[in-house]
């Protein structure tokens, strides 16, 4: 029975990686920067939202509800409603942002949300003018 010398010795080359820099991301402490354009959670600029419900119409998951906002919004808003998204339905396909006529609805690169109560996943999009700039 021939011994496969190469097959025994070559896996030992893995020992060399002991001296490499670790590749682990220490997540809760150090966050990985997520690129601009990542399809994370929704943001909506209430100054330009026209309440047209295009997003509600295109969403195949019926994740979007139009409701009255409790803060000030665009006076030209035709229906007086703004979208609210059910994160028990959303699939982050970003079709709603593609069809938004004034491009007020966008996706941010914040994307983690854990909750104990499954009833708390109705998400009011943050009122943000541009990514990185908070209005409310």
């Amino acid at each position: 029975m021939a011994i496969d010398i190469k097959g025994v010795l070559s896996p030992l080359s893995a020992i060399g990686t002991l001296f490499e820099h670790p590749k682990t991301l220490t997540y809760p402490q150090a966050k990985k920067d997520i690129p601009v354009g990542y399809r994370g959670f929704h943001i909506n600029n209430l100054e330009t939202c026209i309440g047209c419900a295009s997003c509600e119409e295109i969403c195949m998951n019926e994740a979007i509800d139009m409701i009255h906002p409790d803060i000030e919004y665009n006076p030209k808003n035709t229906s007086g409603c703004v979208p609210r998204i059910d994160y028990g339905r959303c699939c982050w396909c970003s079709l709603c942002t593609d069809v938004c006529p004034p491009s007020s609805l966008k996706l941010d690169n914040i994307c983690t949300h854990a909750e104990c109560d499954p009833d708390n996943f109705l998400y009011m999009p943050k009122n943000i003018k541009n990514i990185g700039e908070d209005v409310s």
């Binding site: 025994v8 070559s10 896996p11 080359s13 593609d98």
Partner: protein, 371 residues
Amino acid sequence: MKNNLENTIKIFHGPQHPGITGNMSVELDLLGETIKRAQTHVGYLHRGFEKLIERRTVVQAFTIVCRICVPEPDPNEENFARAVENLTGLEISEKAKYIRTMVLEMQRLATMFLWMGGQAGSIGLGLIPQWSVCDRDYMLDRFEELTGGRVYHMYAFPGGVRRDLPEGFLERLSDLLDYYEKRIIVYNNTFFDNVIFRKRAIGVGVVNRDDVLKNAYVGQTMRGCGIKKDVRKDMPYLMYDKLDFDIPIQQDGDVYARAIVRRDEMLQSIRILRQIIKQMPKEGEILQKIPKHRKFKLPSDDTYVQTESARGAMSYYMAGDGSEKIRRMQVRGPSLVHAYTLLEKLLVNTELADVAMTMNSLGICPPEIER
């Protein structure tokens, strides 16, 4: 056959089992350690995709198709987009074709790394999954930049792709390919040449060469038996007829041969990606202008498209009926035949310990069997 089943015990391999390639189960009749009969059970992941797609318009259905196979969503998107383009007669620009080809090859690499983790993990090599899943993650980082999604990209839209390349993307991809080339040498040393893997894999799960063509086995199962067929070469789509690559084959038809074919395909994918990076047009439309963005009307006609995924040919049958909705879309993934016709045959008279390894090497992906 029935006489053999005397004194056997029944073991359910799955659905909750670390060695199974997804949420499915194999019912095994064991005599000692030897399998006397194997039966596949699926349905744990059935969502009724084909029903859901019938209820949605083309644009809405586009977001759902990538969920059909979780480890590699892009061949599904490509198939869907190409089927809609065939039906409506849309032509896509050269740049969009190049980008789609690039995405498909990137996805192939990412899937291969995940497969390597599963294959090594199934025989107890704990180090390789730690590495290869991490290496796959670097490709997912590139996907994040390009498409905005980590696993589900929803990128290949009928008529092109949804976004243009970000700035400096091709350079970063090129750097990653350099890294991968170095890594594959490391994997070669630690995994493919490893005496443990060779002893476990050589001569196990041998596919009969005569059955391959008739029973519609595809992908590495076919190429591991020495049959040189690849949809990318035989029925070229997108840019594959302008790219230079080989089809790696092996003759033995066992688990090891399939692993070596996969390793060689990774090298070929890197080669294709390098050519794409060189040839990528700078200018060009990425998404064809469709008169009304939300209204795609499919004629009452049908079509059948095939794409080479990382596990073999994946085909879609699509029919329209003159409205915005799709009359019928049927998915035929490579796993359907592999998980039933082939696996039930291959497992007989093998050992219990080889089940996970054989399943991994056939590239079985349960969500695409039952949709």
